[in-house]
């Protein structure tokens, strides 16, 4: 009887989630367990995720990985898992509950704050900055936006945030949004793209409008790496999505063996730019 561990994630199509999946698959190979990975189309579809969670539970898994879109909404099902003695490992962002045995996560707020510091440094701590964020209501969207904005407000009084707009992570929409922001703010000095699609959108917009601004991105992917290499993008924050996926499955396996786990497994985040992109430690957490 093979050990089955389903991972119910926040998304599935985006490269970030594909990288998480890749890590989970790697761990599955290493620990000889079977994993599946799925997530709803958009991070707004809280109820769809809950349906996925209940289908996952119906399969009588050994353990469960779960990245909650809205942690409160999932509690009844998590209680069910607890009652059935299925250990739950939270990943990506935490669940407001003590049910999960551990949480493998990135501190998105702190990561975005780091992005803000880098941005401030690169534009000389004053001037206009704008944000293209992927989502207005999802946890990651809110955390990255607020992490960035809060740091700017608290530490860099001369930096003015002129616009925050949301493109759903869609590259084309994000491009159009970034272009409009550039058009509306002729003195804009920098722009932060809060996930891969948003960051690429900002890069595209800068290219198309031939404007020189400081671009700070988030996550990785081939286009972002290229943009950093050719200087269009100053740098970006990367999490360790592969690590998140790997650690989640690993933690689940350990929990099944009855090992004790730390409350939080911080998978970390890194700033990368032209200077350290080739660094093996960084390269290991970047995905194409």
């Amino acid at each position: 009887q093979e050990t089955y561990i389903p991972l119910v994630s926040k998304g599935f199509q985006h490269q970030f989630w594909q990288a998480v999946k890749q890590g989970a698959d790697q761990a599955a190979k290493d620990y000889k367990v079977r994993v599946t990975f799925e997530g709803p189309e958009t991070e707004a579809m809280v109820d769809k995720q809950i349906d996925m969670l209940s289908a996952a539970l119906a399969k009588k898994p050994a353990a469960l990985g779960f990245a909650a879109l809205d942690s409160k909404a999932a509690i009844p099902l998590l209680k069910k898992a607890q009652a059935a003695k299925i250990p739950v490992v939270a990943f990506d962002s935490g669940v407001d509950s003590d049910i999960p045995v551990t949480t493998a996560t990135t501190d998105n707020k702190a990561a975005a704050a780091l992005a803000a510091d880098k941005m401030a440094e690169l534009i000389g701590k004053s001037g206009e900055v704008a944000l293209v964020v992927h989502d207005q209501t999802s946890r990651t969207g809110i955390d990255r936006r607020d992490g960035f904005l809060d740091r700017m407000k608290s530490t860099y009084p001369n930096i003015k945030i002129v616009s925050v707009q949301y493109g759903g992570g869609d590259q084309l929409k994000s491009t159009e949004i970034a272009k409009s922001i550039l058009q509306a703010s002729p003195n804009l000095k920098g722009m932060f793209g809060a996930n891969e699609g948003s960051a690429i959108g900002v890069v595209n917009a800068a290219k198309e409008t031939k404007r020189k601004i400081v671009i700070v991105g988030y996550d990785s992917g081939k286009q972002q790496k290229d943009a950093i290499k050719d200087g269009t993008m100053a740098g970006a924050i990367t999490q360790n999505p592969v690590g998140i996926g790997y650690k989640t499955v690993e933690a689940a396996v350990k929990a099944l063996k009855g090992e004790t786990l730390p409350k939080v497994i911080d998978t970390g985040f890194y700033w990368y730019d032209k200077s350290n992109i080739a660094d093996p430690k960084i390269a290991a957490v970047l995905y194409d």
Partner: protein
Amino acid sequence: MADHTAATPSTTTASPTGIAARLFRPATRQKLLAFASLLVLMIFFSFASSNFMQTDNMVAILQATAVNGVLAIACTFVIVTGGIDLSVGTMMTFCAVMAGVVLTYWGLPLPLGIVASIFFGALCGFTSGVLIAKLKVPPFIATLGMMMLLKGLSLVISGTKPIYFNDTPGFTYISQESLIGELIPALPIPNAVLILFNVAIVASIVLNKSVLGRYTFALGSNEEAVRLSGVNVDFWKIVVYSVSGAICGIAGLLIASRLNSAQPALGQGYELDAIAAVVIGGTSLSGGTGTIIGTIIGAFIMSVLTNGLRIMSVAQEWQTVVTGVIIILAVYMDILRRRKQ
């Protein structure tokens, strides 16, 4: 163009008495056959995975159908008139948010929240109805505009944050608890499902036995003829959209209670699922025909499919492919069945 083969539910033919006689009438056999696709799917999944045909999973499927089912019922009314409603998803969310405002922001008692949700649904439906009937804006555009308007308003009103119902203790009861389960512990069917079936029964009665239902079919069949018969077409159209809106309000309560929160960003995209359920259920988008039972079957086909593929652990990208193919096949089977008739 008139669709000569389509059967209206409202004209069940001469009723022989006796339940047995009724069950074996061709018309009834016809209706039972409509379950065929659903049964085929369920049988297939039972063989494909032993985890499928289990109480828990059946309950999960029922639960998963509740919201889409109620939305699909709302759509059925509009579609039978020959219209379309793209706003059902975001309208549901808007109603949930309004319930949140009443219950959580204002701290009013639960019944008021329920009334508010249904009232705001009816109000939104009323507005769409006025746009369509009085200003002659095509339903597609009126409800598309409504969809965006309500999506925006939900975000504005909620401050782009979910509104939680933690301070309204009975709220989760609406959807999550199980009245049936309390009586028959072996059947923990959540209240959401009970509500779905109640809405379906009431909607079915309204559609088949009430004046409103009659005009709903008549409008979809030949609006001009209805107008020339001296009926106040505009009024009835507005009523239909309002009723549909009120039903969306119920869906709003269901989803809010299920998630114990009003999620302001949710809802867009749900209209396609609802309309798909209606059309899979044999209702024609050109209006004049349609049954609530068909719609419910359509909604179940969709959720059984989704659930079954997940239980089989089919890769998600393939799930999408298979769902697309099965939806087409289910409708094609239904067409073949009707053609034979």
